[in-house]
């Protein structure tokens, strides 16, 4: 049975012309789940609209 992220992986794989062989799919999915979980954690933090990113980061 397809996992929830499989359709997304297929679509991005096609859009970026990035091969994902079936044997790699479980590991790619597991890594993507971690990245999305951590990304959501960042997303949940409210920032003012005026906040700017740092294109070239300087300490």
């Amino acid at each position: 049975m397809a996992e929830p992220l499989d359709d997304y992986i297929d679509a991005v794989s096609k859009a970026l012309a990035l091969p994902v062989e079936e044997a790699w799919r479980p590991a790619v999915r597991a890594n993507l789940e971690v990245s999305l979980r951590l990304g959501r954690m960042v997303d949940e933090f409210a920032l003012p609209d005026e906040t700017e990113p740092a294109p070239i980061f300087t300490a």
């Binding site: 990035l18 790699w24 999915r29 890594n31 990245s35 990304g39 070239i56 300087t58 300490a59």
Partner: protein
């Protein structure tokens, strides 16, 4: 037992300058140790013996002619194999890059080290494309911990940790994107400096995550770290992030007292997810420095999350074409993480970069009232090679992704850090001495004081 004087860069340089030892003898000693021990440690991927002997002879000739020699005259050193070394392909731990033409010119930091009299003896093993905390490499085999060769060196600068921890060379250079200098320093029981972001030129080194990449030295003493760091400073228009600040030498300040410094322990996040040995190491360092104040670093877990997102996406962008054309030539673990990184939606990356500005402002506030923060460098001592999971605060977690949980929130905003080795039994472990931006001098001063107090020391290698 700590390092013998002749195993330190300062000891060698002073003996060479005083004509008590030739640069060629110092070089031959390093080459002999590499030959004797590197079959086990697997820290070197290239030994540049002919080049090293030629350089050493030139230094000896200069000394014989009465010419001035640099502060690192005759000191052997080696570099992580993502630094360009003239006439070698810059493999960056990969199989793919071996097909590149040989580099035509040395990396900027190699040129600066050699201008000061140091002698390059080779290039060092590393995790593939620096996306690694273990020091394990599927193409070249793992670098091995000099205190127990069944254990990890940490990564990704694993060969740098192993070569200096094993006393094959007194100084090595490495890179640190999320902890790749501080983690091997911790596991291999040596001193490592991750300078302020932008402090040292990255020109002619293979990148990983442009907005997080730093280069820096490893050594067996704080003095040697400062010696190497000082000669590598200076602007470089060939690295767009490199500072235009002038030289700020640290060696003349290193023995200044630390009693006037406001030193605090990083609390909250940095006191969680640690094994008892990490708690013990931080506590020994804090006790020696008289530090009792605990400062909470707000949102450090989210900072680590943002660093993770930026790393995986910028890394994926760097390697996108190689992932399309040669996916089977990657370490599968690296490939699958990078492919996943390419699939992270762009708004999450943008928010991670914006959060970075916010988080930097919080730390800037903290550094108005303290000069130094203390934190663990790793949650534990070196795990076994191949170990997959460990138990952190009652939760079974993958080793590979979690070794750098205490280093990532610091490099995320480019703060300078010296990782100091605390020689616990049976294995050493590091503590991060974290300072405000551009205050490497303070972190090195504290590292030096801890060394003088006997709290920090690079133990002699026991595994070889």
């Amino acid at each position: 037992m700590t390092s013998k004087p002749e195993t330190t860069a300062a000891g060698i340089a002073s003996a060479v300058a005083a004509r008590k030892m030739s640069a060629l003898d110092a070089t031959e000693t390093a080459l002999a140790r590499i030959k004797q021990h590197d079959g086990i440690l697997n820290s070197f991927t290239d030994v540049t013996a002919d080049r090293a002997r030629a350089k050493a002879r030139a230094i000896d000739a200069d000394i014989a002619a009465g010419k001035e020699v640099g502060p690192l005259a005759g000191v052997p050193f080696a570099v992580k194999n993502l630094f360009d070394v003239a006439d070698l392909p810059t493999r960056a731990g990969s199989k793919i890059n071996r097909d590149l033409p040989p580099a035509r010119r040395d990396a900027a930091l190699i040129e600066r080290m050699e201008a000061a009299g140091a002698v390059l003896v080779g290039a060092l093993n590393m995790g593939e494309y620096a996306y690694d905390f273990t020091g394990e490499n599927v193409h070249d085999g793992p670098s091995r911990n000099p205190h127990d060769t069944t254990r990890m060196t940490g990564g990704s600068s694993g060969g740098s940790g192993s070569a200096v921890g094993g006393a094959l060379v007194p100084i090595a250079l490495g890179s640190d994107t999320n902890g790749s200098i501080r983690v091997p320093s911790s596991f291999c029981g040596i001193f490592g400096l991750k300078p302020t972001y932008g402090r040292l030129s990255r020109a002619r080194s293979f990148p990983f995550v442009a907005s997080l990449d730093h280069l820096g030295p490893f050594a067996r003493s704080a003095t040697d770290l400062a010696l190497a760091y000082d000669v590598m400073q200076g602007p470089d228009p060939e690295d767009s992030a490199c500072t235009t600040r002038g030289l700020e030498p640290t060696l003349p300040l290193i023995a200044n007292p630390v009693s006037d410094l406001r030193i605090a322990i990083a609390g909250g996040y940095f006191q969680k997810n640690v094994f008892p040995e990490a708690v013990e190491a931080v506590s020994r360092v804090a006790r020696a420095l008289g530090a009792t104040q605990v400062v909470d670093v707000p949102e450090a877990a989210r900072a680590r999350a943002a660093a993770y997102v930026i790393t995986t996406t910028e890394g994926a962008s760097l390697h996108l074409d190689r992932l399309r054309k040669r996916p089977n030539d990657f370490d599968p673990a690296v490939r699958d993480r990078l492919i996943a990184g390419a699939m992270v939606p762009a708004p999450l990356v943008d928010r991670a970069q914006k959060f970075r500005r916010w988080y930097r402002a919080q730390l800037a506030d903290i550094f108005k009232s303290v000069d130094v923060l203390l934190a663990p460098a790793t949650p534990c001592t070196a795990p076994k090679l191949g170990q997959v999971n460990f138990n952190l605060d009652g939760v079974e977690l993958p080793v590979r992704a979690n070794i750098g949980i205490h280093t990532q929130p610091i490099s995320f905003i480019g703060l300078p850090v010296v990782a100091v080795p605390v020689p616990l039994e049976p294995l050493p472990i590091g503590v991060q001495i974290i300072a405000a931006p551009w205050r490497e001098d303070i972190a090195l001063r504290v590292a030096y004081a801890l060394e003088k107090m006997g709290v920090a020391a690079a133990p002699s290698p026991r595994g070889i």
